[in-house]
Amino acid sequence: MLRLPIALALLGLTAILHAAPQAGRGVPDVSVSGDATKAIPIAISGFSAETQKVLEFDLHVCGFSIVSPTQADYELKGNPGTQVEGSLTETAKKATLFNRAYPGGNARTQAHALADDVVQAITGGKGLGRGKVVFKLQTGRTSEVYAADFDGANAVQLTSDNNIVASPVWRPKSRSIYYMSYRAGNADIYAQDLSNGSRSAVVRFSGSNISPSPSPDGSQLAMILSKSGSPDLWVSDASGANPRRLTTTAADESSPCWSPDGKTICVVSRESGYPALYTVPASGGSLKRLVTGSVRNTTEPDWSPDGKWIAFTRQRGDYFDICIVSSAGGDAKVLTEGEDPSWAPNSRTLIFARRNGKYGQQRLTLLDWPTGHVKDAARVEGSSSQPNWSR
């Protein structure tokens, strides 16, 4: 059920997040340089059960392994009390890195904030604590857009279209989303302001108006439109005005995403007869194949906020895998089974949809790709897919 006040509380945090500087750009990402594939051993003790669980989840998907004190390079100890308090020690040097209390919020938000500080103190990188995801939740023959904390907690229903919806995506620098809905009988793109629940049809031409993807500065909207007789890549103003056609293939394009500098769009095309990734200048130009080595049948690209990587889905028979490739192209790495990855602001954690068995329901799952750590997000009843992480 849509409960707007909860949605507003949830999105208040998102607004804070959006007000923060864009992650990764111009800031050296210490966490991925060096031996990032090696998990950092940390011991965690002295917290309430819920706080302990949140800390372990957050740190696991940021590249830490939770171990006993004797195996740990770092030790995080809690103090009993009504608020979360933690001290972080580097065990070899017996040096205290910090000792902090986290008043305000609730136990979960306090624990997320502490986990962020641990990540920051040890790696210099950014934590995940205030990240929100929007996603599609299908129950029966209809679906709705939901938002939740990145770990799946505090899920809130955002739409009540009582129809099929898809591809929800955060609009940068605003408390709003784009999504696709068939509520008017056609695949149209809507914008929904989450501060007051108001919605407007943004793009509704004849044919399919699908896969909305806002530019990183929020000023433009990439999407797939078939108004010219083939599903092509188009870019419009954020309002949907002034649509410009970027691809003119007779084949179908799908799932555009932007480079963090907003200059390039990565899109799927079947130009060669099978789905492959291409890049195209956002101002117009020719499609250029993104080399993915031996990894074929690639869809659903998402460009990392630091610009270095493109995560995507590859199809292998009836199965799907999450993969990444350098944004310059190269040999793609196959990471784990799943579909439709979306990057966290730290450019190392991904959220994606993982199926229960071959054709079962999907649930949201997190992957720290350098270490290969995987954790399922809290499940919402139904099939969850197409997650998009707020940046």
Partner: protein
Amino acid sequence: MKSFSKLGTVALLAVVALAAGCKKGTKNITPLPGYSGTAVPGNIGTSQPITPITNPVYTGNGANGQPGSGRTLIDENANPAPVDLSGGKGKGDLVGQVDREIIDGLVADRETFKGNTVYFEFDKSAIKSDQKANVAAVAEYLKGHGDNRVAVEGHTDERGTEEYNRALGERRALSVREMLLNLGIPADRVITRSFGEDKPAELGHDEVAWGKNRRGEFILLVPPTSVR
């Protein structure tokens, strides 16, 4: 856009004059009466109003707005005009869609063409030769019923990622539309939609179900007065 022609694509955009009336910005989106798709809400614009939009004009000057691309402008203010299909256009030519308000007020009939559903091969959008008679029958019917139009709904099986399938379903619907146009049906009488994998005809997870789900369905759109 010579870079695109290097890719070997055909991108002839026919002049398509959009139907009159598409500038009526205050018009609410009216669900088709009798449309039997899943739960099109009947009160759009009441509880959570959709802001009516004026459809943006495609200026058609090429992907980056450069002039002189040679592509024909689509002018939504132009008077309705028939689409000329006699210019020796080959297979695969793309014809732009007209504004979908042409179907406003028409009543959806899902029965008439129930037996004409077109089935596709896995991951393909070309119409198989044994399916062409279904499209031809629809074209014949439309020729005999000049005030009727048709919506083509493209669908896929569940194998493939969601948005890829939505685009593939649209490509299938457009292939059917292209064949109707090549059979002489004017472009302003055919509209396309895609539901990707979201509306399977069969719920199974085997080739029998998948084969039934990879389909293009015809929905006849008739003026309200001709409904019995």
